[in-house]
């Protein structure tokens, strides 16, 4: 057939997985070490999902935030090519700035995204062990207007009890998408589970009707979490129920 010759390109669809990582001073030591270790180990798994997936290929981007925030690379890279560079921990927790930066790049013209046709909604994994020290509200408000963010799979990992789970719930839009870990081993496992699950579900054509991809991810991670010692779903008693009312 001649309609699909060299002059017609049919690119693969893409799904971008964002790691948004707290590298403030309190993360120093074993926590940041575990994060580095876990991400390095999960990348080959993501590559495998990408390679064996007929629907889409997976790209990875990582944003670290402490006193300010910065991208590991200035473009999303294929999982197979993403080389993790260990991040260091020091400084404050500028989650508001990170939200604004994420908003900047969740766009087609000046950012990381391609045309919405041919793309799947991104997956965003936020890791933090503390509370924002900057104007988180302002940053999140801007981010919440972003169409890509609205349709993204959003999951947060709260490291320890000092993590502000209310803030994380507001980022993900629901407290059910906030998973808490209490030890280093659990942290490593949950990063793997969350990254793999989000990528699997995020890079599939959706035919599931009313269940959003985010809900599917939450369900699967919740199931997996029962087998991880020291990890739990944020309980429903926290105050995020009122934020839901305001959506």
């Amino acid at each position: 057939m001649s309609l699909l010759d060299e002059t017609v390109s049919v690119p693969r669809r893409t799904m971008t997985l964002f790691f948004v990582i707290d590298t403030s001073g309190s993360m120093a030591g074993s926590k940041i070490g575990a994060v580095n270790d876990a991400v390095v180990n999960v990348l080959p798994m993501l590559d495998e999902i990408s390679v064996t997936n007929p629907d889409a290929e997976i790209k990875v981007a990582a944003l670290e935030f402490s006193t300010g925030c910065s991208w590991l690379y200035n473009e999303p890279k294929l999982a197979s090519e993403f080389v993790w560079q260990d991040v260091q921990a020091s400084g404050l927790t500028s989650l508001g700035a990170a939200c604004e930066e994420l908003e900047n790049k969740l766009s087609r013209s000046k950012g990381f995204m391609q045309s919405a046709s041919g793309s799947f909604a991104p997956a965003i994994i936020l890791l933090s062990d503390g509370a924002p020290t900057d104007n988180f509200e302002a940053g999140l408000d801007k981010l919440k207007c972003n169409n890509w963010f609205k349709s993204a799979i959003k999951v947060a990992i709260a490291i320890g009890d000092d993590a502000d789970k209310d803030v994380l719930s507001r980022f993900t839009g629901t407290n059910e998408a906030v998973f808490t870990v209490h030890n280093i081993d659990a942290l490593k496992q949950i990063i793997r589970v969350v990254a793999v699950t989000s990528s699997q579900i995020g890079s599939k054509s959706s035919t599931a009707g009313e269940t959003t991809k985010q809900d599917q991810v939450i369900n699967e991670v919740q199931n997996a979490i029962d087998n991880i010692d020291g990890a739990e779903v944020a309980t429903k008693v926290d105050s995020s129920s009122y934020t839901d009312d305001w959506d």
């Binding site: 017609v8 049919v10 690119p11 080389v83 046709s117 909604a121 035919t207 599931a208």
Partner: protein
């Protein structure tokens, strides 16, 4: 005027034994009324009769458009300049207090009649067709219950719709939901004739089953004598297969050229073969295309279509060249730094692979360019060439003189391109 349309089951639907939920239609009658329609039934388990909904929508649009054209006061449309109307949203989203003109009221009546008759039709269908064996086996309980309750039946049949209509005196087009409509003018310039609705994003779309469906119609009309020379309507399975819109447009340009050079039958056969392949390679989704075109004017515009493709390809080549040059710059900088730190090593490898990927892409583009140049200039065409080339020149390590400040001239070992 000529027309065609085709719809086929998506690759992923084959796997799960789901029928094609797209429906398409095209027709030209003896009075010169041309219609092209594409309706795309929603995927998702809730919308388990969306294939029926899409078929009904198509039939109703075809009938109602004919009646509309036969009865409307032509003076409402004749003489009108190219006019686009967006979906109506609440004041928060838009500050549009345009006065509704008689022509807008007429369109609103047409759209209301489409929704109204579709609603009646699906209600009747649901009453006459209880859940069948397959539905009982496959549909989740909550949606079966929804069906049995008769509440929000429209969701079960939900679909998007778009249509292009032309008469000898005017044309109009309307759209509700996603998918893309592309029109070409006599200069072979393309546009989306109907305004986009930002609420259609990724897998979200507005729909005939929405409670505010009437306000979600976007439409365009023109009666000042200007007509598109070809209009293509494609379901979202099409645009999702091509990613960037320029790729989709390029495909339609290929079809347009083929209609001129290979004729209608060959092209239509080709479309029927291509769409399933495209679904497999691209979106996996159902695919449909409907088209209305003006043969004579398309033929006149043929060279311009090729020129457009050449221009687009040229722009792509220049973009790749910039990427290659940029990666080479990075490599040069990193090599000069010695490249010992781990971070530098990583960046260097990225620069290398970016260069390699850039050249691979370049080769494809140049190949495409040469095909197009040949098409345009004939066998005497001059193959495309530029200073960046299509492959990196071999590099060798060589000594290079560096003028130091204190200890005079110094030799260092660097990579240089072989002459």
């Amino acid at each position: 005027m000529k027309c065609f349309d085709f719809h086929c089951q998506g690759e992923s639907h084959k796997a799960t034994d789901k029928v094609c939920q797209d429906f398409s239609y095209s027709h030209i009658d003896e009075d010169g009324l041309a219609i092209a329609i594409v309706c795309d039934g929603h995927g998702g388990k809730r919308y388990f009769r969306s294939d029926v909904g899409a078929r009904f929508a198509t039939e109703i649009i075809a009938n109602n458009v004919k009646e509309f054209v036969n009865n409307i006061d032509e003076t409402l449309l004749v003489g009108q300049p190219f006019t686009q109307q967006a979906a109506i949203q609440t004041e928060i989203a838009r500050q549009d207090f345009r006065k509704e003109r008689p022509v807008d009221k007429a369109f609103r009546q047409l759209f209301a009649s489409i929704i109204g008759q579709w609603q009646q039709r699906i209600e009747r269908h649901a009453a006459e067709n209880p859940l069948n064996e397959k539905e009982n086996a496959q549909v989740e309980e909550q949606y079966r219950k929804e069906f049995l309750s008769g509440y929000k039946l429209e969701k079960i049949y939900g679909c998007t719709l778009m249509a292009y209509v032309s008469t000898p005196k005017y044309w109009f087009a309307f759209h509700l939901g996603d998918g893309k409509m592309i029109s070409f003018d006599k200069e072979a310039q393309w546009k989306e004739p109907v305004l986009w609705d930002d609420r259609c994003f990724l897998n979200k779309t507005t729909s005939i089953c929405d409670s505010e469906a009437l306000n979600e119609f976007r439409y365009t009309y023109q009666g000042d004598g200007e007509f598109p020379i070809a209009v293509f309507l494609g379901s979202d399975g099409m645009d999702d297969s091509f990613g960037e819109e320029a790729n989709l447009v390029n495909f339609y340009v290929k079809v347009a050229k083929s209609l001129v050079t290979d004729g209608f039958d060959a092209t239509f056969t080709d479309i029927k073969e291509t769409l399933p392949v495209l679904s497999k390679r691209g979106s996996q989704d159902d695919m449909s295309v409907a088209c209305v075109y003006d043969e004579a004017r398309l033929e006149e515009a043929l060279p311009k279509f090729i020129l457009w493709q050449i221009a687009v390809t040229k722009a792509d080549i220049l973009a790749v060249n910039r990427k290659i040059e940029d990666a080479k710059d990075r490599r040069r900088r990193l090599e000069a730094m010695g490249g010992h730190a781990e971070k530098e090593q990583i960046e260097l490898r990225y620069a290398q692979s970016d260069i390699a990927r850039g050249y691979a892409e370049k080769q494809q583009l140049v190949k495409k360019m040469d095909i197009l140049l040949k098409e345009y200039y004939g066998d005497a065409f001059v193959p495309y060439q530029d200073e960046v080339g299509i492959a990196e020149k071999e590099r060798v390590l060589d000594w290079k003189m560096i003028e130091g400040s204190s200890n005079g001239i110094r030799l260092v070992l660097v990579w240089v391109e072989k002459e």
